[in-house]
Amino acid sequence: MKTPQEMTRKDYAALGFKSGIEIHQQLRTQRKLFCRCPNTRYSPAYDAEIMRHMRPTLSELGEYDGTALMEFKTRKEIIYRISRHTVCTYEMDDTPPFMLNQEALDIALQVTMLLGCNLVSEVHIARKQYLDGSIPTGFQRTTILGVDGRIPFKGRTIGIRQLGLEEDACREVSDQGHVRTYLTDRLSIPLIETVTEAEMLEPSEVAEVAHLLRTLTRLTGRVKTGMGAARQDVNVSIRGGERVEIKGVSRIPAIPALCHYEALRQKALLDIRELLRKRGITKDSIAEQLQDVTAVVRRSHFTPLQQPLAAGNKAFAVRLPGFAGLLNFETGPNVRFVREFSGRVKVIACLDRMPNLVYSDSPEPTLASRLWERLLRDMGAGPEDIVVLVWGSERDARTAGREVVLRAREATVGVPNETRKSLKDGTTVFERILPGPDRMYPDTDLPPLPITAERMKRIRTSMGPRPWELIARYHELGVPEHLACDLLLDPHRDLLDELLALPGTNAKEAAVFFGQTLRSLRRSGIVLDKAAEERMVRLFGCFLERRFAREAFPDLALLVAREPAVEVADLVTRLVPQPLAREEIAAQVRSILTRSEWRRPGHPAREHLVAMKQVMETLRGRADGKDIADEVRKYQSAEGERHDR
């Protein structure tokens, strides 16, 4: 299987690779979205626990939505840990919602405008059902504020399908067997959800767009930063495949590998489908016939089976006709097709102790081959068939067997529509069946909210710049692009703008002074208040007047910060009493070097460094470092000639 580094843009195009991204970004507001709880940091502390179950609601066709049915099958007990400091009875789903947080709405509208979306006139709150328990009500309150935006990207544009304002969900603590536990501190924190069109054409573009969108929202200064404040869901599909959603990717650098391996996984599934087709296997070929083989495998020495069966659990076998070798098919780096079956069994039958199934042509030793032969015979398996064995409580094992059959049938169709969870190695596992598009209905607990023209005007006038606009502006001012990108999100960027506004300014020097010297000061623990920042502007002004050379910046900046009582000009004079004119440098250099030990025979590079060190001790800041280096080199080479003579 090719690694991401081995793939080219053309390879992805040949696959028909398409990807889109959904970014969930927490907002920095005082309070949560539908209640007055504080929007603070997370904390694992809790005072009490509540237990709930989730039941799906029939649709008007008398059927359950696929995801809902799946979640219901798992029959989980959901435990919520609550703390009086971070949640109230709203989050517990024991009180109806309070009015929508207006501060959150303003921020969301601002981002909607920055993305160039078409704005709605009236906000309607919808209920989006989730039965995994991640929200105690069983649904998330969500809104949409705008559609059809566009952002520039690499000479083309990426479409923004929609932007919405919604509430965040609980944090999972554990999920074992039939019990899932959540912390509720994160619940109901305001989130904006930005959904792009599937217009990214290779994995690296997905990460780049994610980064661009993150920069855009961070520029507003009104979103939360730090681990977990922004999460990405990535959608990937290839030609002939299906849209698969990889949820909860918290690190942007992890995105390209995930997209890459998902594309290849889908390709593998399509190859498997083709193999099944050649073998004449269709959905109908695979019967849902579970055989209770507990008695047969009871005395197996296979460890994962021994204890459960001894404890009274059951084992069921299923025959998959035409699947010989297929469960060993490579679907990822060190990943085989069997992982898809195991994933279903884990999530839906809640059998999470691995391995949770074994199969007759596994390359690893499982049951004794005699036992497999017996099972194959009992199940009427031919040379092209395999047998899969699952075990657990009777109810769970039967569910597991059924899921194995369902997944095998899906293999004849192609790539199942799924939500998958990302792993650190860039591969993914099944998380749930992708919900249908219509699992939403209006939340009638709150009235619709009109967005007035006045409000839109107010937000538009204080909207702030988009990243590409800022980069263009800095570019115009002469700041090199690589420096500009780096400085966009600096919280003290106003200071840079002031430096750039000085008459006769030097944009590159300003960017370096700001981005390197001052940042380094801050990192060493020195706080620069407004007054100190103004002094730094004056210092830069002195530089523009050629009072000193750039090499003196670090020392001077430190002085300016450390001695607020002394005038900046005086500090400059103190450190650099006499700037040197270009023609004076040579004499100074000679005077220093004749009196010093700079020779290192056979090591010319080291010689230069030693000489420079000695010269700069005296001359630093008094003249341009490059000019000084020139003169030192000239002197050294003249001396060298003299020696040789």
């Binding site: 704005l119 069983g138 209905y441």
Partner: protein, 465 residues
């Protein structure tokens, strides 16, 4: 059975919004492409809610979200199709098992179960046995279920007509040999109905269980299904031949409590655990596995069908909630408007201020029946302890022991349906029928623990709330 949506092309739209729809020749369920000064949108036009304004058009976009568009921003609307909604309710019969008990579920309002039409966002009640079976299949493991819709009102709109009708329906259920009755009811006045039914239906040989849901039944987290399962189990299997309310104990999906109809009250506006027995412990608790009784002073299930249905009600009774500086003209107004009974919710042990005395005397002299209960809900009226109480009794006001104010209101309305004789009404009021007055209040009849106290917080952290 297919239910078609009424062909109302502009359902809910008025004023400028209605004009806009007409102008663009589109209507509800039109699939449209809209151009506006704020950009373009594609979706289906939905009906407008009556309480929303007349300036916006509501659309369901392709992604499933609803949005509102200001009609003054619309520049073009093009119809590309038409998608009428049809609610198809599947025919699924509730299974019948001759061995299982027969239970009837009467509906008075509220949705004990529902289904969702995701296309329109409508929440449709599911009430027939087949629909309930689809929603809550566990019921079929408990009993054979019949359903009958008596009324479809919000519970604050329940009144004498509905109480009498429900009492008579219970009589019919007993006569028909049912093993239990479940009554679906809105939670706001469930305790009022439970109380009045406790007087209108006496000596029942079978359980009669009122049930509802605090969270609407369309949501996955709803308490509806578990409440219904527990109520049905109680009606079908338990030997508690009483009128009871069955609702969540804690807010977790653990168990329901079974409360005597005359001692139960809704104590929180929204918590699932809102219903509590006041001044005593409940009759018992129930979960899908079993019913547990906490006490043995209850009427047991019998095989005979000798229930007493006594459905009368005089609606000229008022509850007066006393507050400091209340003026006597309020009492006078009740007297002058033909009221025949007053239940006072007094402060402390049953007190009101002096200025009301002449008005109360006038009321009693004019033949009104006036009873005193306590605002504090817990505790007995005891009007001998202070002068105030003794003076008020002199006027003719009768202490009603530990009857809850709403229960006293129901009982007085029922009693006045029989007689106007002062002594007879007093006798009826003070003779307990179904626990509305108890002889004793055990120490655990009042357990309101305060949050913040260390040992209380410790207790709560140990058990699921």
């Amino acid at each position: 059975m297919t239910v078609e949506v009424r062909k109302d092309q502009f359902k809910g739209y008025r004023g400028p919004a209605l004009e806009a729809l007409k102008r663009f020749s589109v209507g509800v369920w039109s699939d449209v492409e809209v151009e506006s000064t704020r950009g373009s949108f594609k979706g289906i036009i939905l009906p407008r809610s009556e309480t929303a304004d007349d300036k916006h058009v509501v659309m369901k976009l392709r992604n499933g979200y609803n949005v509102g568009l200001d009609v003054s921003t619309l520049t073009a609307v093009r119809e590309t199709g038409f998608r009428e909604a049809h609610y198809k309710i599947p025919e699924k019969a509730f299974p019948f098992d001759p061995v299982k008990p027969n239970v009837i579920l009467y509906g008075t309002g509220g949705t004990i179960a529902s289904r969702l039409d995701y296309r329109t966002g409508a929440v449709i009640p599911a009430f027939s046995p087949g629909e309930l079976y689809g929603s809550v299949p566990e019921l079929a493991d408990i009993c054979n279920l019949q359903t009958e819709k008596l009324y479809g009102v919000f519970s604050e709109n329940m009144g004498p007509e509905q109480y009498i009708g429900t009492a008579k329906a219970i009589g019919r259920a007993v006569a028909e040999g049912k093993d239990g009755v479940v009554i679906g009811h809105g939670t706001d006045t469930m305790h009022h109905t439970a109380a009045v039914l406790s007087f209108m239906v006496q000596n029942s040989p079978i359980p009669i269980v009122l049930v509802g849901s605090q969270r609407s039944s369309d949501r996955p987290s709803s308490d509806a299904a578990l409440n219904l399962i527990n109520a049905t189990k109680t009606a079908a299997e338990s030997d508690l031949a009483e009128i009871m309310v069955c609702m969540f104990g804690p807010t977790s999906d653990e168990y329901c409590l079974l409360h005597r109809g005359t001692r139960v009250r809704k104590m929180h506006s929204s918590y699932r655990s809102t219903f509590r027995t006041i001044g005593d412990i409940p009759l018992g608790m129930v979960d899908p596995q079993c019913v547990v009784t906490f006490r043995d002073d209850y009427n047991r299930r019998r095989k005979d069908r000798n229930v007493i249905i006594d459905p009368v009600f005089d609606d000229r009774v008022s509850i007066v909630y006393y507050y400091p500086a209340m003026k006597p003209d309020i009492i006078d107004a009740l007297v002058d408007n033909g009221y025949r009974g007053i239940v006072i919710a007094g402060t402390g042990l049953g007190h009101v201020n002096k200025p009301l005395y002449p008005a109360l005397k006038r009321a009693c002299d004019k033949g009104l029946h006036v009873f005193m209960t306590v605002q504090t809900l817990w505790g007995y009226v005891q009007m001998y302890v202070y002068d105030t109480g003794r003076d008020i009794m002199e006027l003719g006001v009768v202490p009603a022991a530990n009857m809850l104010p709403e229960v006293a209101y129901m009982k007085l309305s029922w009693a006045l349906g029989h007689s106007n004789d002062r002594e007879e009404v007093k006798r009826m009021m003070l003779t307990p029928i179904a626990g509305e007055i108890t002889e004793r209040e055990p120490h655990d009849g009042y357990l309101i623990y305060q949050g913040g106290i260390p040992e209380v917080e410790e207790f709560i952290s140990k058990y699921r709330k």
